[in-house]
């Protein structure tokens, strides 16, 4: 078969390939079979995936013996107008849409560092952060200098940005200018404000509805890697919030070598004291109430992940 015939066959092959990402595997198989039928040309199919589009482009590379490489490219007329062929999926730059508000990929990357809640999967936490971001966008009440400063301080502390130089280096690494950073801090400050207000608003009601979560207990316990002997010594009792007890002791007055996390817990609750609506307890109830409120909103939210 001479080169002209090979090129004609290559055009025929390319004209039959489906220009979709999910069809690229089948296209490679078809090209491999074609290469077996046309030995000596080192045929190789190149698949170019267009960003933000299901469409792909194909080139077939062929050896031009002793003279170089030939690239064969075909754009079949499939009736698709130019604008559709070169269009981009509307959510190409978005990770998720929550209640109609999009989270862009740069913002999602920025958000990753804020995912701090053990036991909550990152997807759920991202949705919750989106919900409070939406709330922040609707909050037009001016922020005070104190609110902005407290947010900036907390942000820098969490990232070890202890001086101006470190902050500027971090901004450069993030590809963010100072104005964009200020905008970001403003959103965070509004989220903090929303959280504080909600905690304060919900605390008393939550405490009244869940008093068992906020009492204190006088208890003693030990953690061990192997089961602790039943008559083994226990430390002196201490008074702690129920929430600070090892999980097995929160609902039982005595546990013997109960499996917990990576080991065992053995302990005794000597006395349980009812919740007092003091400042410390109300703050804890506010935090728990906020967590429950946000989880409820997450469950009711309209969430669309675009690329998962």
């Amino acid at each position: 078969m001479n080169l002209g015939e090979v090129l004609g066959d290559a055009v025929e092959l390319l004209g039959t390939l489906t220009r979709r990402r999910q069809a690229a595997g089948a296209a490679r198989e078809a090209a491999a079979a074609w290469a077996e039928r046309h030995p000596g040309y080192g045929a190789e199919l190149v698949v170019a995936e267009r960003p933000g589009s299901p469409l792909v482009d194909y080139d077939l590379l062929l050896d031009w013996p002793g003279r170089g490489t030939i690239a064969v490219s075909v754009q079949p007329d499939d009736g698709l107008p130019w604008l559709e062929d070169h269009s981009t999926h509307w959510a190409a730059g978005q990770l998720v849409t929550v209640d109609g508000a999009d989270l862009s990929l740069p913002d999602a990357l920025l958000m990753l560092r804020s995912l701090t809640r053990p036991g909550l999967d990152p997807h759920a936490e991202i949705v919750e952060l989106c919900l409070t971001r939406n709330d922040a966008a609707a909050d037009t009440e001016p922020l005070s200098e104190e609110e902005l400063q407290a947010t900036a301080d907390a942000f820098r502390r969490a990232r070890g940005l202890h001086d101006r130089e470190a902050t500027l280096d971090w901004l450069a690494a993030m590809g963010m200018d100072q104005a964009a950073f200020a905008d970001h801090l403003e959103v965070l400050a509004r989220q903090r404000r929303l959280r504080r207000r909600k905690e304060s608003e919900l605390a008393a009601g939550y405490l009244a509805a869940h008093p068992e979560q906020f009492g204190t207990a006088r208890a003693s316990w030990v953690w061990s890697l192997s089961p602790w002997p039943q008559d083994g010594p226990l430390p002196e009792p201490v008074e702690v919030p129920v929430s600070a007890l090892p999980q097995p002791l929160r609902s039982a007055d005595r546990v013997d070598a109960a499996r917990h996390e990576h080991g065992f817990v053995t302990g005794v609750v000597h006395e349980r004291l009812p919740a007092r609506a003091d400042e410390h307890t109300l703050a804890a109830a506010g935090r728990a109430a906020y967590t429950a409120w946000l989880a409820g909103r997450r469950a009711a939210a309209d969430v669309r992940w675009h690329w998962l």
């Binding site: 469409l55 604008l83 269009s87």
Partner: protein, 306 residues
């Protein structure tokens, strides 16, 4: 009374409503796409009677067309367009029938050039062979964009068309122009992009720092718009005057004009959107467009607009 035609939950309307209230403007909002049958209209000879619920639209002296939904059914859509034409009211930015004329991008370019604004050499074509010629004339720095807006769908998913630099590979799909024309222009080098919002006689130029990030250099809408810096721009008086005049000559009380400022400091007109969004630019650049819109509408209700 002011009639606002838009969809429920339009945040731009929500931004302006309290300002209208403070200016003592009574307003009524209606979405023709939501509940077309709340409106009853009878036209008999030169007499027109239109009621929206219990409100007689004879009381309406100004109409703000924001983002109304499309009425169900072609007959309703055409009838409403005709009825609006007969309503003796002042329209912002213009009546629906005028908007399509004002949105003619080719006419805009011709008018802009006549008014002394610099425009890019523009080819709108469905001839595949024009693509390579335009590419060559632009020394390989050619952009393609749609001649007008339309919904795009690929495999059932909504797509968008951003202004795109035409690559050598793109030339191989030149036959696609046969299916739909495309606007081609030489790529204009930018120092910044400017969105000029014209409200009546007031002009609000906002600088969009699209050149700060790689993803936004050709089309700033490609990135998360809230991450592109917007700031007030000091537009030369003669350019501002031309923007005002362009908007006025297109029969509009409002226009969202896209300009490029080149690295040499020249201003190049790209297009005007007769009902372009401005809320984001106000929020990001801190320019008081909503106040100007409220002022204009309040004056229109009082019948003393310029």
């Amino acid at each position: 009374m002011l009639l606002i035609l838009s969809r429920r939950g339009d945040t731009t309307v929500d931004l302006v409503l309290p300002k209208l209230a403070r200016r003592g403007v009574d307003s009524l909002m209606w979405d023709p796409g939501d509940s077309g049958h709340r409106l009853t209209a009878t036209v008999r000879g030169s007499e027109i009677g239109v009621r929206l619920g219990r409100t007689d639209l004879a009381e309406v002296s100004a109409v703000w067309v924001r983002r109304p939904g499309r009425p169900a059914g072609q007959i309703w859509a055409s009838f409403l367009t005709d009825v609006w034409e007969l309503l003796p009211a002042t329209w912002f930015p213009c009546s629906p029938s005028r908007e399509a004329r004002a949105d003619n991008k080719l006419a805009q370019l011709a008018l802009a050039a006549r008014l002394g604004l610099r425009i890019p050499e523009t080819t709108v074509t469905s001839d595949p062979h024009e693509l390579g010629l335009a590419y060559a004339r632009a020394n390989g720095r050619l952009i393609a964009k749609p001649p007008s807006r339309r919904a795009i769908s690929v495999d059932g998913e909504e797509h968008l068309y951003y202004t795109t630099l035409v690559s050598r590979r793109h030339l191989a799909s030149r036959h696609r122009l046969r299916h739909e024309p495309v606007t081609l222009q030489p790529y204009v080098e930018k120092s910044v992009e400017i969105r000029v919002t014209v409200v009546g006689e007031r002009v609000f130029p906002v600088e969009i720092d699209s050149q700060a990030a790689r993803t936004t250099r050709v089309d700033w809408r490609l990135a998360d718009s809230s991450r592109v810096r917007n700031s007030p721009h000091d537009l030369p008086a003669d350019v501002a005057d031309r923007c005002r005049e362009l908007t006025r000559e297109l029969g509009l009380a409002y226009g969202a004009i896209d300009l490029i400022r080149t690295p040499e400091g020249e201003y190049v007109f790209l297009e005007l959107n007769p009902n372009g969004q401005w809320e984001g630019h106000e929020r990001l650049a801190g320019v008081p467009i909503s106040d100007a819109v409220a002022d204009w509408l309040a004056a229109a209700v009082r019948k003393d607009t310029a």
